[in-house]
């Protein structure tokens, strides 16, 4: 099950060209959705104005330094989800992020390069597909039920839905039903088709709802992380005072039991 390509089996009922078109459409929806979101909210205009203000108030940062900041952002903030200061949140995010990367990449490779049973699919791709979807589920459900602030800090029920849940729920739906579909298809179960279409529905919502969900933050956050590092480098530090020039000798206590 874990080494066979689920899309190859699916190509018996759905033509590879249809699957491939669907993936291209999803990518376009994300791009269009993000561009629309940025234009509609004028967020790029805001961001540019903010950068200019910071540049005007701060000292000059050389090109070389800017590149090194960009690399640090990419490695620490993006690749290692370094902005999270809470370990649990960070791990859950890493699971979800890399899970999504493996899952999406494996899907694209299998659908475009190994769409039918004619060409043998290297085992690594289905394995990454299963692993990725499972990682999304572990990180995602952990976040959903325990970590998210409206549950952990506000005491909200995990079953209460709000607009901010659109991204994470559609992602979880897509990954969960992918796993269910993969499993049912391997067993030849009657409900295979239903599971597949549920997977497609959630996947479509995920990629199609970009203007209304937090999906686009995936692109905004690295830009913001870069801007934050830059503001430290140019001395403006977002108007924050500089760290005190004192030794770290008093420890700190994580006195954060669930405060209710």
């Amino acid at each position: 099950m874990f080494t066979s390509n689920p899309f190859a089996e699916l190509s018996a009922s759905i033509a590879p060209s249809v699957m491939q078109t669907y993936i291209v459409v999803m990518i376009i929806l994300v791009a269009l959705g993000t561009i629309y979101d940025v234009l509609h909210k004028k967020s790029a205009q805001y961001f540019r104005a903010n950068m200019q203000k910071s540049k005007a108030e701060g000292s000059k940062v050389g090109g070389g330094e800017k590149i090194s900041i960009a690399i640090k952002t990419a490695v620490v903030d993006v690749a290692a989800s370094g902005e999270f200061c809470n370990t649990k949140r960070r791990i859950a995010h890493l699971l979800g992020m890399y899970g999504f990367v493996f899952f999406a990449l494996a899907t694209v490779v299998m659908v475009f390069c190994y769409p039918t049973s004619d060409v043998a699919t290297p085992a690594i791709w289905p394995q990454l597909w299963w692993l990725g979807a499972a990682m999304v589920c572990v990180g995602g459900y952990w976040f959903w039920f325990f970590i998210r602030a409206d549950v952990s800090a506000e005491g909200g029920s995990p079953f209460r839905l709000m607009k901010a849940d659109l991204f994470v729920l559609s992602l979880l739906g897509s990954a969960t039903f992918a796993l269910v579909w993969g499993y049912l298809q391997a067993k030849g179960h009657d409900w295979t088709t239903i599971a597949f279409w549920l997977h497609i529905i959630f996947t479509t919502i995920l990629f199609g709802s970009v203007p209304w969900s937090k999906f686009a933050h995936m692109f905004f956050k690295p830009a913001a992380a870069f801007e934050k590092r830059l503001s430290v480098a140019n001395g403006t530090r977002s108007n924050l005072p500089a760290p005190a020039d004192q030794p770290e000798q008093f420890g700190s206590v994580d006195h954060r039991p669930r405060n209710y």
């Binding site: 602030a149 005190a244 000798q249 008093f250 206590v253």
Partner: protein, 154 residues
């Protein structure tokens, strides 16, 4: 000045929700990030500002009387036992301050239960815990006598 949260800095961790003495820092339903839901009950105590690990919270003086363009930001560093402030006036004038906040390690205050228990006589006396020693005076706990208090006008 009530508080507000920077979109690009907040990652929805909930520390501010936990700490706010007024129960006004909550999680926005569209972005799952923090928001001040009742600025007219905000005392500007800066508890949320200090508690935010991302320095994502800032304050803007009450619109009733504070013109725009000022900034009062803080960095509370528990491990260094310091608090640092940067004040920027509307006219650009700047002031910086740094103070200590603690002289002992966080978490090291002993429980009274770790110290020797009081005797039966101690219960009957007027002395409180650690007294009379911690008063650091001679002659024991001061007291009045009943006849020193009289009714009337003084």
């Amino acid at each position: 000045m009530p508080t507000f949260v920077y979109m690009t800095r907040c990652d929805g961790c909930g520390h501010c929700v936990d700490i706010c003495p007024s129960d006004i820092m909550h999680i926005d339903k569209t972005y799952r990030r923090a928001v001040n839901i009742e600025p007219n009950m905000c005392w500007e105590c800066y508890s949320c500002v200090k508690a935010c690990p991302q320095n994502a919270i800032d304050a803007r003086g009450y619109a009733d009387f504070a013109p725009l363009g000022h900034s009062v930001r803080v960095l509370r560093e528990e491990e260094k036992g310091t608090i640092s402030w940067k004040i920027k006036f509307r006219n650009g004038h700047e002031k910086n301050f740094e103070s200590p906040i603690r002289t002992t390690k966080w978490g090291t205050i002993p429980s009274p239960a770790d110290l020797p228990p009081p005797s039966e006589e101690d219960f009957k006396s007027q002395e409180l815990a650690h007294e009379p020693d911690v008063l650091n005076i001679d002659g024991g706990l001061p007291a009045l006598t009943r006849d020193q208090l009289k009714k009337g006008v003084v």
